[in-house]
Symmetry: D2
Subunit: 267 residues, 4 copies
């Protein structure tokens, strides 16, 4: 006979908001716009725990992930999801059949590789972006999503440029955009990446031949920006383009300092 | 003639909540209960930026830190702070003279090394804890602090113990406690560490002779706990002991899985 | 007219061993044993630089990667590689046509997800492993490979068990195995993972129902091991099973301490 | 009666090169040139394990550290070490009395904060550097040290400058210098930091007023360097200045790419 310690009444009767598994690495497939994308995400899944239960049944969370992902490791995919948030919803739906709960969350952290065209030679280059997708089911059954992208760009300092006859310090910068919205709101990670990437002094590219490199250098000098300017531009464009609660954070890895500078705002 | 580009009116007139410097490593000294402690913290300082200014003067933030810390690198310390949050307030006070702003924040992340006594042989052992202190000045001038500690302990699974005649899986676990309170609320990092450390199946120790190791092993088996139990115990003790907004997160590095389990709650 | 600064003679005439690109995230596909695996690896590619040249042409390294990987992002894959080291060799071969050099290296770091069967309920579970593959072309044209796997398992302390009537401390442990061998030596990452995973007190599993969890607990208690025992077992099995230079490192995240313990050896 | 499992003969009789403790955070004090410096290092200590012993006595390694460091946490320091490597040797000396071994190693990883003067306004600024010190005792009793410094600087690309009328891309770069030498060789971490820092397009500073910022910008444009140039300059200067085995690695966080570029060489 198995003992189900999780079902016992705990000594300390406190409800817990988020109990589950985290840092689980797995494989996932998504079919988006007719193409199949494979991800190796890190996943977190949590549910709430009522005051009168000692613990949750952790293996059922893993089963929900495994079943929703299961097809992904088969060569012939019978059912794929059209986005990472669809996949997240699918895990939560399976969880509903397996484990009682009032609230549930899933967070999927991975990399997106998107094709771009270089600015002068017109070559195709594949650019990596860090993305994270959360799906949150509330007590009332409503479903929200949180979409996050992290894009590498650059800043060319306008203050140094004004004081040094057009010379200035330039550096890598990282822009982060988060949107929290109802699940059915039409927002794509690709559009979010585009919003951030176009707000730097210049976009960056993995492949750059010399004419492309020259084009990027010219663009940076024509387009000097403080970290504050980049944050404002991402925020202003995101408000125009997307509906939801917006959070922007930009960090510039200053080439003249050992520390970074930061600009952050939210709606 | 210097150009002050920061003072110009930006194209996009959006106020920004947090603009400043981050990931700045420095040295700091604090005199607490008659003893002097040296830290090598990572610091973030931000202020708000109004819609009509293009940028902030970053170097003035660095100057505020440098001046408040300055004495710390001199052998003869003329003025020391009695806690990390006192040091944070001192940076914000200097900032008030240097740069106009309505809101200001400082975050100081470092390690605390505290003496402990081993459970059987009674030896002194020095235990490391990750801590972070934030001081937040609001628009109305009120001052809040955020105190965070991160403590390494362990969990011994009660479910496996009930199903395996007293045998079970045991693992390292990490407990995090955050308290947000008015600046003058009397809360010490040391007491917060103690609250978390006493909530695991057993505390952990850097130095353990064989009789000590035996005592820790016995304690873990007498005191089996889910990650949920640890979170509830920290939360319940913290609510009794401290006033403020409390956030608890416990992560257990399961010895039977490659992923972790998590329990989280807040007031 | 473009200036090719890289071709100039540098002020300081020192040959450099390794010059290239690093931390490049991309997508790669490999067809192994009839199944297709997608990876999102981090890549480093370097070549040597002779004393009389100022720099290398970095974009040609990126082109070699892009071309070798190119097919991987197309849905219809015309040519795939049968292993990560085949893919690495393919990058080096393309590099030979693009950039003169005497020595070349590529390092591909990614995650491998492998199916396993749980010990009692016989379910399928997908387990993640960190892997890294290096391909090194020497001045004489010979090709070597370096294969690395990193596997999460556990240790149950035999010393505490002997002193506490069968009770002991248990914890997550990480085993690393590296083999350096001629390129054509028949060694698979999967076999290396298996060698490490079977050397712990017990393997770990992502999915464990209660009977499986009981089986793992029993196995850990029947099989107590120091970190030293795990290192010796991996080393001894690897020497029997694989030809090449072997390096073993095991780190145990002690549940009774805040620090880790380590055992390391090499052939 | 205690059982000493470590003293038993193991099933697999393989000697192990390095067995010990790692990732131990503690506090250490060093008195150098008349001033006292406090560190919060991460420490690794290992010894060899002969084929016929099952394990080492881990707690004795911790005791050696604790005793050598012990004074550091007392306000009145009775004995301090004159350098991190002196402190490392002191740990190894104590280990000799506590645990039989043929080889021993200690690695101490920490941050060094050094005063600098800004280039135009002449202010004092405190600059952080990552450092690591190893002390290695061989079977024949000889003592070697390994000193590592990691310095943040920058590169201004000479190729882009030649092709864009003096405009170019600039970015943060990280230079690492390692020297392995007999213990008594006179080499200071401060001199090593200086060797690396002076090899970039410009040094970087934590505090920079506008005239200082202008000076750094001018210096970067007057001094364009590939990552290869920086590596060569560090290597060439280090060979002139220090005796020992030298390893140099420079990584440039390209502002026009999402990946980094690397140049590495060794003697």
């Amino acid at each position: 006979m198995m003992v189900e310690t999780q079902e016992e009444v705990p000594e300390i009767r406190e409800p817990l908001e988020r109990v589950g598994i985290t840092n689980l690495r797995t494989v996932a497939k998504v079919r988006w716009k007719g193409k199949e994308y494979t991800f190796l995400p890190i996943i977190e899944v949590t549910i709430d725990l009522p005051a009168e239960k000692k613990g949750i049944h952790m293996s059922r969370l893993v089963e929900s992930i495994t079943e929703a992902m299961g097809e992904a490791v088969e060569e012939e995919v019978l059912r794929t999801h059209t986005s990472l948030e669809e996949l997240g919803r699918s895990v939560i739906e399976r969880l509903e059949e397996k484990h009682p709960h009032k609230r549930a969350e899933i967070w999927i952290k991975t990399h997106l590789i998107l094709p771009r065209t270089t600015p002068a030679s017109g070559r195709t280059t594949y650019e990596p972006y860090d993305v994270e997708v959360g799906v949150i089911k509330s007590e009332n059954g409503s479903l929200e999503k949180v979409l996050r992208v992290r894009v590498i760009g650059n800043t060319a300092c306008p203050h140094a440029m004004a004081n040094n006859n057009g010379k200035t310090h330039i550096q890598r910068a990282v822009g982060e955009l988060e949107i929290r919205a109802p699940f059915d709101e039409d927002i794509t990670l690709e559009d979010m990446v585009d919003t951030v990437e176009s707000s730097f002094s210049s976009p960056t590219y993995t492949l750059l031949k010399t004419p492309d490199e020259n084009a990027v250098v010219r663009k940076m000098f024509e387009n000097p920006k403080f970290v504050e300017d980049v944050a404002r531009e991402i925020f202003s464009r995101a408000k125009e383009r997307f509906r939801g609660k917006i959070h922007v954070r930009v960090i510039s890895n200053e080439s003249i300092h050992k520390h970074d500078v930061i600009a952050e705002t939210w709606s």
